[in-house]
């Protein structure tokens, strides 16, 4: 591992505050993006990061600095996300339900908002671009599907790696990703965003 990082870890073990700050500021952007790609909500992602930081600070004391640091940090982050969602389990919002449900990560617009108004064919009514829509739709996926999808697309993990990280059978992980894609596809189809 990088000598600079190794030295920072050694200093962290001696409770060197400056070393903690230097080390974490190097990796926190990456870890935050993992949290955000799952929550799709800044406040929730920051809440998770608070817990991630504390677990890292505690765990560094017994971390073997000869091992690569990033995989260890990723594992902590993914485990924190899993535990956080278990503790703060939100009501599952089914994508088959009403579009305008209120609640965390809810979609407050209807597919009709994305279609041109019938009385004015030249008017284009688009609320937010496609990525915003995809963002909102991902936030509405059931946690299990959302987690598997996040690790697959954001972390580019193989199905085997995802199964290991989540402690689930390989078939379950593949099923989660396939179902997540199908749900997203159907909703985007309703928005006429996947017209070919």
């Amino acid at each position: 591992m990088d000598t600079v990082i190794t030295n920072l870890i050694k200093r962290c073990k001696k409770n060197d505050e400056d070393a903690f700050n230097q080390l974490l500021s190097h990796y926190e952007g990456y870890l935050y993006r993992i949290c955000y790609s799952f929550t799709r909500n800044k406040e929730e992602a920051l809440d998770m990061m608070q817990e991630v930081y504390i677990r890292i600070f505690r765990g560094l004391n017994s971390f073997d600095e000869t091992r690569p640091l990033l995989p260890w940090l990723k594992t902590i982050t993914v485990n924190t996300i899993i535990n956080h969602t278990k503790k703060n389990r939100l009501p599952v919002t089914s994508l088959d339900g009403e579009w305008n449900q209120k609640g965390s990560g809810s979609l407050e617009f209807s597919p009709a908002d994305y279609l041109a108004a019938e009385d004015d064919p030249e008017e284009t009514v688009i609320v937010g671009d496609t990525s915003d829509i995809v963002n909102n739709l991902i936030a509405q996926l059931p946690e299990q599907y959302r987690m598997a999808l996040t690790l697959r697309y954001h972390e580019e993990m193989s199905y085997e790696q995802i199964a290991g990280a989540l402690g689930q059978p390989l078939g379950t992980v593949k099923n989660s990703v396939f179902r997540a894609r199908n749900q997203l596809r159907k909703k985007m189809q309703a928005c006429e965003l996947l017209e070919v």
């Binding site: 409770n15 505050e17 903690f20 700050n21 974490l24 500021s25 926190e28 952007g29 935050y32 993006r33 955000y36 790609s37 800044k42 920051l46 990061m49 608070q50 930081y53 504390i54 600070f57 505690r58 496609t130 990525s131 995809v134 963002n135 999808l149 697309y153 954001h154 199905y159 593949k174 990703v177 396939f178 894609r181 199908n182 997203l184 596809r185 985007m188 189809q189 996947l194 070919v196």
Partner: protein, 149 residues
């Protein structure tokens, strides 16, 4: 659509289709417009998911780190104090055990019982004498301290 073909479509998107499965899927696609449509939609979706815009880092992230670090340092300091207090207590207990062990020979002394009785008897006599002396303290005090008679 048949789940078997739907799964094959997803495996195709993931690039995990074997040669035989690929042939089976291609044969199926030739005769199923719904599957062709679904495949195209999945390709578009896959592209969207792979090209999500970069996530901006919030300004609050550094403050979040500092707050967590402060909490961790406070917890570490409290933990160290508890550890030191515990070390002092352990030392005291060890010294007490040493003292107890070093005086344990008394119990194996063959004359310890006699010694004990004698000692207790002596203490008893001394105690009685002290009690008597205290009762007669005035005259005693008067003998030793002027003006106390």
């Amino acid at each position: 659509m048949d789940n078997k073909y739907s799964d094959l479509l997803h495996q195709y998107i993931d690039g995990e289709l074997g040669p035989l499965e690929k042939i089976i899927l291609e044969e199926h696609l030739l005769s199923c417009p719904a599957s062709r449509r679904e495949l195209n939609q999945l390709k578009l979706l896959d592209w969207e998911l792979k090209h999500q815009p970069a996530i901006e880092l919030p300004a609050e992230l550094a403050a979040c780190r500092m707050a967590a670090l402060k909490a961790h340092m406070a917890a570490s300091t409290a933990g160290e104090k508890r550890q030191k207090s515990s070390v002092a207590k352990d030392l005291w207990r060890m010294q007490l055990r040493i003292l107890q062990n070093s005086s344990s020979f008394i119990s194996i002394n063959p004359v310890s019982r006699t010694l004990g009785r004698t000692t207790m008897g002596t203490f008893s006599l001394v105690g009685k004498a002290a009690g008597t002396a205290l009762k007669k303290r005035k005259p005693l005090l008067g003998r030793f301290i002027p003006g106390q008679a």
